[in-house]
């Protein structure tokens, strides 16, 4: 504790150091005066008394300094002095300061912005207790891909394993909350131990109880903090109250704390999860079967058990289940995905690529600034020489120059923070695709520490060049009147090196941006298999007890479609259980007659579209053979199905699929006859090859979907018809609620948004880098030309051809550009493979992209050389000769 008190005393001195110095001065003065008095009394003259007192006292100035320095703050005072001096120097050359600060603000600001995103999304720990022990547990398909788990399987896993402290389930759930204005919420149905698995406790009320998790018990829900505030006015007595949802009532069990953010979200476009209810399954229910893969299992491994051990045990359990139920599983084994990887894995690739790219921008900015500083240091040689001759050590001068640069870099960082502050808003406008946790992107202390360190490193890095140069200068030489810079050769080499690296770095960024641009343009030329223009989509889910009758449910959608179809300006209309590029995955086993595996789980599966007549027409999906689904395909008529080309090719190669029979989603279902063959559509994304797809009539399917999306082909802009469509459906049922009322082409745009996001950012970085390096090349050439003005004059006067002189001036710049280009191409070849996962039908070393980028960059750079050279040529030789 003693050292602590000592630090406190030292700090007190720092705060009041003027007072300390004054006190010291006063007591020393008193001492001298008392001694002088004593001497006077012993009979000395006033002068000799004073001299004697001083002699006995010693060197007052030195002693004062020693006393002052005893407190150990001189480094701080020097720093303060250096900073003040630095600020004064910057104020004296506002033009330079402005250019330097803006360059740095670009570099540091862009880095801060990207780092704040990386920090918010990847670096912040997951909001769960000990998140590195949480893992998602998947069933394994025969092809090694992962699959959701069925409830019966989960119960066996849970009973038999010893590796997991907790094993829970969740599934997505979209209830309609009927409080105030009805609203469709994004929710989850979870097993009662879900929050205990995550290590989360409700802030208000209680967690789900095991006895609440069965089909017979009360319907209990837990609310997110935001929903509690938004819809229930943060009612402190909410626990135990009943709320209306989906035309029934639920009891609120608890409210989570504000710090909880739900990341378990199967639908990235659905917003964050705001409500949870118990799963309430029972193994006797048909949807609790082993092949009902629609639940996600999440487990917390016990202390002292690692993921490999847990996986080994689960593999054994799974193998035993496969032996016991050979027809219910397609493969033995499980797949574990650590939760962090599951939630953030995809985002991390993109973000780290962006972070790498943006660091290149900072490097280019550094090189540019270093160049600027080098040019300036030539003008400051004399100042440094004077200080040196006056007794400043080289170390002291170097420190002062570095401090000046750090001041500059910090100023740049401060300016750069302004745009970085708006990052979240810019990202929201830009659209980021599926990046999670974006709401947590902000400037927190970690970002500020990053920015400050980046600024200081930049300050030191850019300052080193001029410091090194100045330390080699012969000051005697510099002080002579009219002498030119003495370290010219070394300075020129250094500047050349900086320009070469700038060009190389910019080229690498441009190649990256070019590859992404070509990928996106290729992707946008991919035909989705349907016509997305002029189609309005609106999703709805019917509510209430009366719709539990299939006939009423089917009739509602049939009537709604019929009314929508006859609206003015509407060409055709239909409803479907899902729409392409909508982010849904709804796959059913495809059991073709005569081709069913001994284990039907091994049969192929297909995307299921449950549609009303008119869907193909509305989306303009081509009917290649056979007939479309029509109104007469009712529940009483024979079962029919449409298949796409991929299905026909895969299941009946070389055969005519029309008239073949198939069961969908299990052998206990009725036979359906293939009546038509339609074109493939891109369901998952434009970059994914179309899979097997089937279409079945909503009027026929034994479990008609209640969550449907209406599609309307319109004559004018689709959104113009939204309110008329709403009114039409409300005339049938005024309680209907719509979500995602948007044009179909917006889904196409959304599906490429992630790519566009990366492209826009890397493109912006590449543009900044290009501009900076062009400025750099221009600067070096202009400087070189200015230094050689007299030489140019002599050459011209002696009769040299202007073209020959121009060539001479351009040569240096061209060499630098050439070297930078070669280096940049090499670096790009080495680096672009990291982009491979983001490319589409373009190889990372696409020659076309490389050629175009090299042409663009070298063209711009050559122009930057040519302008100052050309200007020098226009100067009258006589003027040039007198120049100095």
């Amino acid at each position: 504790m003693n050292w602590l008190r000592e630090v406190a005393r030292r700090l007190r001195m720092l705060m009041h150091r003027r007072q300390f110095d004054a006190d010291l001065e006063e007591e020393m003065q008193l001492h001298l005066e008392l001694r002088q008095q004593e001497h006077l009394e012993s009979g000395m003259t006033a002068d000799s008394a004073r001299a004697a007192a001083r002699r006995r006292f010693g060197n007052v100035t030195a002693l004062r300094e020693t006393s002052h320095m005893a407190w150990g703050w001189e480094w701080f005072e020097h720093l303060a002095l250096d900073i003040r001096h630095g600020l004064r120097m910057l104020r004296k050359s506002p033009g330079f300061t402005l250019v330097a600060v803006l360059t740095l603000a670009l570099g540091i600001g862009a880095n801060t912005a990207i780092f704040s995103v990386v920090n918010g999304i990847l670096l912040r720990p997951l909001p769960y207790h000990a998140p590195n022990r949480l893992t998602v547990v998947w069933e394994k398909n025969s092809d090694g891909t992962r699959d959701n788990v069925g409830y019966a399987t989960y119960l066996d896993w849970k009973a038999q394993n010893h590796s997991f402290e907790q094993l829970a389930l969740y599934a997505s759930w979209q209830p309609v909350l009927q409080v105030g204005e009805p609203e469709q919420l994004n929710g989850l149905r979870v097993t009662s131990n879900y929050f205990r698995t995550l290590g989360i406790h409700p802030e208000l009320g209680h967690d789900f109880l095991p006895e609440e998790d069965n089909p017979a018990s009360l319907r209990v829900v837990i609310l997110s903090h935001s929903l509690w505030g938004r819809k229930f006015n943060s009612d402190p007595n909410i626990v135990g109250k009943s709320i209306a949802m989906n035309a029934t009532s639920y009891i609120v069990a608890g409210v989570l704390s504000a710090s909880y953010e739900s990341l378990m979200n199967q639908d990235p476009r659905g917003g964050s999860v705001e409500i949870w209810r118990v799963l309430g399954y029972d193994v006797s229910q048909p949807w609790a079967c082993r092949t009902c893969h629609h639940l996600v299992a999440i487990g917390r491994v016990r202390d002292g058990v690692d993921f490999a051990q847990a996986k080994a045990e689960m593999d054994n359990i799974s193998a035993a289940l496969m032996r016991a139920y050979p027809k219910e599983y397609s493969a033995a084994g499980v797949i574990l995905t650590p939760l962090g990887e599951q939630l953030l894995g995809q985002a991390s690739t993109t973000l780290y690529i962006l972070l790498g790219a943006v660091s290149f921008v900072l490097l280019v900015a550094c090189a540019n600034l270093a160049n600027l500083l080098l040019a300036r240091s030539t003008n400051r040689e004399r100042e440094v020489a004077v200080r040196s001759v006056l007794g400043a050590g080289r170390g002291r001068i170097a420190r002062q120059l570095l401090a000046e640069n750090c001041v500059l870099a910090l100023l740049g960082a401060a300016v750069g923070l302004i745009p970085a502050y708006w990052t979240p808003r810019v990202l929201a406008t830009l659209g980021t695709g599926d990046l999670p946790r974006l709401d947590a992107v902000r400037l927190d202390w970690r970002v500020l520490v990053f920015t400050a360190s980046a600024a200081l490193l930049t300050g030191i890095a850019t300052g080193l060049a001029p410091v090194l140069r100045l330390s080699k200068i012969d000051f005697q030489e510099s002080l002579k009147e009219g002498s030119r810079g003495s370290a010219g050769g070394a300075g020129r080499r250094l500047r050349g090196l900086l320009v070469v690296s700038e060009v190389a770095l910019s080229l690498t960024l441009l190649v990256g941006a070019g590859l992404l641009l070509r990928s996106l343009s290729r992707l946008l030329t991919v035909s989705p298999g349907f016509d997305a223009s002029h189609v309005l989509t609106m999703r709805t889910s019917v509510l209430g007890q009366r719709y539990s009758d299939n006939t009423i449910l089917r009739q509602f959608f049939a009537d709604a479609v019929e009314r929508l179809r006859t609206l003015p300006g509407v060409e055709s209309a239909a409803a479907a259980s899902q729409i392409p590029l909508g982010g849904n995955i709804d796959q059913y086993g495809f059991h073709a007659e005569g081709k069913i595996n001994a284990n039907p789980e091994l049969d192929e599966s297909a995307e299921r579209y449950c549609i009303t007549p008119g869907f193909l027409t509305t989306l303009r999906i081509p009917l290649l053979r056979g007939r479309d689904i029509v109104l007469s395909d009712t529940a009483d008529a024979p079962g029919v199905i449409l298949i796409n080309e991929t299905t026909a090719r895969r299941i009946w190669p070389g055969e005519d699929p029309l008239g073949k029979r198939v069961k969908l989603g299990g052998l206990d279902h009725p036979w359906l006859t293939v009546i038509g063959l339609v074109g493939d559509i891109h369901h998952v994304g434009l970059d994914a090859a179309p899979d097997m797809q089937v279409y079945i009539p909503h009027a026929q399917w034994p479990f008609p979907d209640s969550d449907m999306t209406f599609v309307l082909r319109t004559l004018g802009p689709p959104t113009a018809h939204a309110s008329a469509a709403r009114r039409t459906i409300h005339s049938l049922d005024a309680t209907q609620l719509f979500s995602r009322v948007m044009p179909l082409d917006a889904y196409v745009v959304l599906s490429v948004q992630g790519r566009r996001f990366a492209l826009v950012l890397i493109g912006a970085f590449a543009t900044i880098a290009l501009l900076l390096s062009v400025v750099g090349v221009y600067g070096v050439t202009a400087y070189g030309v200015a230094q050689r003005t007299r030489e140019i004059g002599i050459r011209r006067a002696l009769g040299a051809q202007p073209s020959a002189v121009l060539g001479l001036l351009l040569r240096q710049g061209l060499l630098l550009i050439l070297a930078g280009t070669v280096l940049g191409v090499a670096a790009s070849v080495a680096l672009t493979r990291f982009l491979a996962s983001m490319l589409f039908e373009v190889t990372p070393t696409d020659p076309m992209t490389f050629a175009l980028v090299v042409a663009l960059l070298s063209g711009a750079a050559i122009l930057a050389c040519w302008i100052p050279a050309r200007r020098a040529m226009r100067v009258d030789p006589m003027v040039a000769l007198r120049y100095e």
Partner: protein, 116 residues
């Protein structure tokens, strides 16, 4: 540092003993200001020990940092403002440490000198 021998023969104080002298002086007389400390050391040593008077002050600052002494402003008999130094508990402990160290060294030196 050369100085004219204006009166008596004076010896520089051995290095490292300045703290000991100040501590001991303050321990004997309670509160003192710098001038009094310097005078006291010279008087008691019969003007043999020569302190470069100014060097008292850096030493006092270091002792303030260490917490061996505290300082407060008061008035002299001549009605002048002066900073008075006083020993702290830590200072008393330090005095004991310095004393035993000094005695050990002096004892050792004496033994070396007197060894036959």
């Amino acid at each position: 540092m050369s100085r004219r021998g204006d009166d008596l023969q004076r010896d520089e104080i051995p290095p490292g003993t300045l703290y000991l002298l100040i501590l001991r002086t303050l321990a004997r007389s309670g509160e003192m200001h710098g001038y009094e400390i310097a005078n006291s050391i010279q008087r008691i040593s019969d003007h043999v020990l020569q302190v470069e008077e100014g060097s008292l002050y850096p030493a006092l600052q270091r002792m303030l940092i260490k917490g061996w002494v505290t300082a407060k402003w008061g008035t002299t008999t001549g009605n002048r403002r002066a900073r008075y130094y006083q020993l702290t508990t830590a200072g008393r402990k330090q005095l004991a440490v310095e004393m035993s160290q000094f005695e050990r060294v002096i004892g050792a030196i004496t033994r070396v000198i007197e060894a036959v």
